[in-house]
Structure formats: C-alpha cells, structure tokens
C-alpha cells in the first residue's frame, strides 16, 4: 500500500512527529511504501538543521533525513508555513525540500491512505 503522511507538530512539545516517524518506519518494514511525508503547521520544525537536541536525546531531524536517504521518502516542508516560522532553504536539513501545499493534496490524491499525525 502507498501511504502518505502528514506531520502537523514539531519534535518537542507534541508526540506527533515521533509517532509519525515510528509509523513510517514500521510501515516500510511491513513492505508498504511511504512515498511522501508532508510537514505542515509547526511540523515544519522537523526540518530545521539548526536544531540541536542534547546528545542523549533522539534527533528527529536527522532521523527523518536518514529515513529519506535509506528508503527514498520525499520529505516536503510547506513553504508558507515554513516562512512564518523561519524555516527556509538556508536552515533546511538534509533530505528535506521546500514546496507548496499542492504537494500535500497530490499525496492525498495519489496515495492509498493519507495518515495525519497531530491533534
């Protein structure tokens, strides 16, 4: 099954991005495809390369990047939501790209399921 993922929250004040990451890994491990993860609202903070969690904490920004590298997952940060929150090309972490909301709608149109993580 093709599963698109929408991440609506940042990595630190909400469980959504941890859950989304673990869901994506589990889905891929079960043989499903996760062609695209779209980051919206505060979810755009998942793509901030300036984020430096303490060394004994998980680093979701890097984990997402590794997932993209290993499994070809397309990590898309919303341009409008990103601009509001200071997430632009100069701070964008490896594996992510910035694009428009059309990429979210296309994921909804093209995937068998679109799974939302957030409230």
């Amino acid at each position: 099954m093709n599963i698109g993922i929408l991440v609506n929250e940042g990595p630190f004040t909400h469980q959504a991005s941890d859950s989304a990451y673990m869901f994506a890994k589990a889905a891929i491990a079960k043989g499903h495809a996760v062609p695209r993860v779209f980051f919206y609202y505060d979810g755009v903070n998942n793509g901030n390369k300036l984020s430096e969690p303490q060394s004994d904490d998980r680093d979701l920004v890097k984990l997402w990047g590794r997932l993209a590298d290993e499994h070809g997952v397309d990590l898309v940060v919303c341009v409008a939501a990103g601009l509001r929150r200071g997430i632009k090309d100069d701070v964008l972490a490896e594996g992510f790209r910035i694009s428009g909301l059309g990429q979210l709608i296309e994921a909804g149109m093209g995937c068998d399921r679109l799974v939302t993580f957030g409230d």
Binding site: L6, N8, P35, R36, Y40, Y41, A68, G72, V73, D74, L75, A80, A81, R84, G95, F96, R97, G100, L101, G102, L104, I105, E106, A107, G108, M109, G110, C111, L114, T116, G118, D119
Partner: protein
C-alpha cells in the same frame, strides 16, 4: 532528497477538512483554510466540518483588530462558494454546547448530530484535521 511524482491525472477524491480549533489565538484555522483553497484548485470534492471549538471559526462578528491584531480571515469562509466548496457541516452537539444557533454563522451550513458526522467522516477518501 527523493522528489516523488504521483499519478494524479483525472483523480477526484473526497477531501474533508476537520476543523476543531477556535479561529484566532493559534494559526490552525488559517492554515487549514489555505489547504482547503489548494484542494479546491486541484478540483477535488471538498467538504468542511466544524466540531468542538471549530464552530467558532464561522461565527459572526469576529473582530481581531480589537484584540490580538491577528489577520482577520473570517470573510474567506464566505468566498468558499466561489471555489465550489459548498459542503459545510457543523456538529450539532458542539454548536449547542457553546450556546450557538445557525443564525450565528456567517455562511450557510448543514447542522448534523455527532452520529451523522461520524458517517460523513467515514465516507471520505482523505480527512485532514487542524
């Protein structure tokens, strides 16, 4: 970076946007609305549901200049009709719990009980909440 191309030619799906938060004070409602407009531009079959504090999004008389100074986008809900977005549902229980009636809304809506809202949500292809 692995840019993915979806096959979306001629695809029309039922998208529902589930609004559960008050319009001002956070940016959820405005950012949902931006997604609604894009999905309409992609010619999808779009519905909006207002539940919990989301019912306040379409309430008459929101005046942000008098309070936070947040951008007032309330009139955008009125413009949705122009994008062929005409399915607007309000959950009856949420509306009544907040002392509101249909007359308090700036747009025409269908008021449905929670049991019916569940069925409406289940009938969608894609549900995006905010």
């Amino acid at each position: 970076m692995a840019e993915f191309e979806f096959e979306t030619e001629g695809v029309v799906k039922k998208f529902m946007f589930l609004n559960r938060k008050a319009p001002y004070g956070t940016i959820y409602a405005l950012e949902v609305l931006e997604t609604v407009l894009i999905s309409a531009a992609f010619d999808q079959e779009v519905a909006l549901a207002f539940v919990d504090d989301g019912v306040y999004q379409i309430m008459k008389g929101c005046d942000t200049a008098a309070t936070s100074g947040m951008k007032n986008f309330s009139k955008t809900y009125r413009a949705l009709e122009g994008y062929d977005v005409e399915q607007l549902f309000v959950e009856k229980e949420s509306m009544e719990a907040r002392g509101l009636t249909e007359d308090d809304f700036i747009v025409d809506v269908q008021v449905v009980p929670a049991s019916e809202m569940v069925a409406l949500i289940a009938a969608q292809d894609v549900v995006i909440s905010g």
